[in-house]
Symmetry: C2
Subunit: 335 residues, 2 copies
């Protein structure tokens, strides 16, 4: 029950004494004589005219919405990505439609179907379904998941990041390394973190272990690994690279509970660049993903409906960030 009925284009046209088409041109910035433009602008202001997005969408066949398909919003990295994608879309005048899937393949497919009904002009997806049916004819880009050369994928330099982690640990004096992974960092692009780490270790001539656990495994599984390879070993590990920051954070807690000092006895590097309050301290030493760049790039790609000539996988540079779990960190000031 709006107090005043919203003004339409014809109201503006009548008020300004011009034709409908002229109003449309002014609104859309097409060339119009100065005098006309001023009259229309005055009428727009006077009537507080706002374009009706439904009418515009109906006629132009563009909704102005981009769907972001994401496993959940509570994982810090996803939350950060959501925020930056939203920001990047806003800058370009688009709105975001959030679809969180809870890692449910059926929900993912259902969202994509929905989007095909014209609800969105494009899709940015970070999904866990490897055999997802990608809709033809709608801009579709993925983040961190490579499907095929037809589907552009934006990712940070996972391989380079893993390699960098190995190098940093070596630089910091570690001589026996391990890579710990769980769940999502096992699949697809993020899996290259391990590959890069392994490659780095081999280049450095350092011995290393790899320990993989399926999603949802209890920490006790890692506990077994760490006890055997640190407490009970005469050649204990002294440098750990974890598949993501949350894991690194958990592993650090675990190590400390086992009586080991971090970073004095064991140094730990994670991956992602998660901070505690979104903008405060890093929760561990980490390989920081360029989240803002990833979001910007994904948005630019999905809005430029021409993917030809682009590399199917766009890799963005990562950087190393000390964060309290390596010896190069300033004495820590936070929890």
């Amino acid at each position: 029950m709006r107090s005043k009925q919203a003004a339409t284009m014809s109201d503006v046209a009548r008020e300004a004494g011009v034709a409908l088409g002229t109003v449309s041109k002014v609104i859309n910035g097409q060339p119009v004589g100065e005098a006309y433009r001023l009259r229309v602008e005055a009428a727009v202001k006077k009537l507080d005219y706002q374009v009706n997005p439904s009418a515009k969408a109906l006629k132009s066949n563009r909704s102005g919405f981009i769907a972001l398909i994401i496993p959940d919003t509570t994982t810090p990295f996803f939350a950060l990505l959501t925020q930056y994608v939203n920001l990047a879309l806003e800058k370009r005048g688009y709105k975001m439609m959030l679809c969180f899937t809870g890692r449910d393949a059926d929900r993912e497919q259902e969202f994509i179907r929905m989007v095909r009904r014209n609800q969105a002009d494009g899709i940015i997806a970070l999904t866990y379904t490897p055999d997802l049916e990608i809709p033809a004819g709608i801009p579709f880009v993925t983040i961190d998941r490579f499907f095929s050369v037809d589907v552009p994928c934006i990712a940070s330099d996972n391989f380079g990041g893993g390699r960098l982690a190995a190098q940093k640990l070596a630089e910091l004096g570690c001589t026996r390394l391990a890579c710990l992974r769980i769940g999502s960092s096992l699949v697809n692009e993020p899996s290259k973190r391990k590959d890069g780490f392994v490659s780095g270790c081999m280049e450095l001539g350092l011995p290393f272990e790899v320990c993989n656990l399926p999603d949802g495994s209890p920490m006790s599984a890692f506990e077994v690994f760490l006890k055997r390879n640190i407490l009970e070993s005469d050649q204990p590990l002294d440098g750990l690279f974890c598949g993501n920051d949350l894991l690194a954070w958990q592993v650090t807690g675990l190590l400390r509970r086992l009586g080991l000092r971090v970073p004095e006895d064991v140094q730990v590097i994670g991956f992602d660049g998660i901070r505690m309050f979104g903008d405060q301290d890093y929760i561990c030493s980490t390989i920081v993903q360029p989240v803002a760049d990833i979001a910007e790039t994904a948005v630019n790609m999905v809005l430029s409906n021409d993917f030809t000539g682009l590399p199917p996988l766009i890799c963005l540079p990562v950087r190393y960030q000390p964060g309290g779990t390596t010896r190069d960190s300033a004495p820590h000031t936070e929890g």
Copy 2:
């Protein structure tokens, strides 16, 4: 460039040999003769017909979107809320349009203006602007922020939660309590957590302190307070209630760094019910907000366009949850 042009209602009507209006009735579940219904349904299936949401929105003046206005998506409580609101909306056949404001009043007002352009059928807002201009004529409900009796507000029982925290700390053997707050828990509804806590302490006849810090204050400010009132006091505090879980978590880290044992020397209770990975361990002992209920209620309210007769403030029950920072917790197994 969809391979086949999407089918419209008239295509379906032609295919089924019925009138346009009949198709509309079938689609919208209005009473239609059995034979007609079957023919239309067959045609819908054959042509893979999907309603065009823009056309529907244009004619019916409802977009099917509800806007969620939220300060950010990275604060765990907000992330959780976002997820549950999304879920509740989905259940009701609505889509969510996410507007994160970064706590910027101008952005908040701009979003509301946008929504008035018919982009959304209602607004659920969690805002920091006390003098927000609430749009008339569009369903608007708030979470945790009371504006006026005309604007329904959903909140958890902040007062009761604060009181419960005091009672629990007393039960667990604490005799000298304090309430620590920062930033967002100082304002509006969440501020009642302190009131409830104070009330609880007075009922129990226990001495208490209150320490408030403005948003963005460094932890060192709390450090001063804690040093003076625990380390340097001959009547040291032994029970802390923090305005939210993140603060409780930081304070716990701070206490441990000061050489105090939690929960042996000092017990800490937070507020919110944040878990580390969204579904794993609570990060501290806490008063859990019923996030799912809050979301459901907010969605139900915003979709029922009749607020008359409802209490302006809807209060949902909280519960206490041990989480490692009080003596009633099972020996902790996580970081």
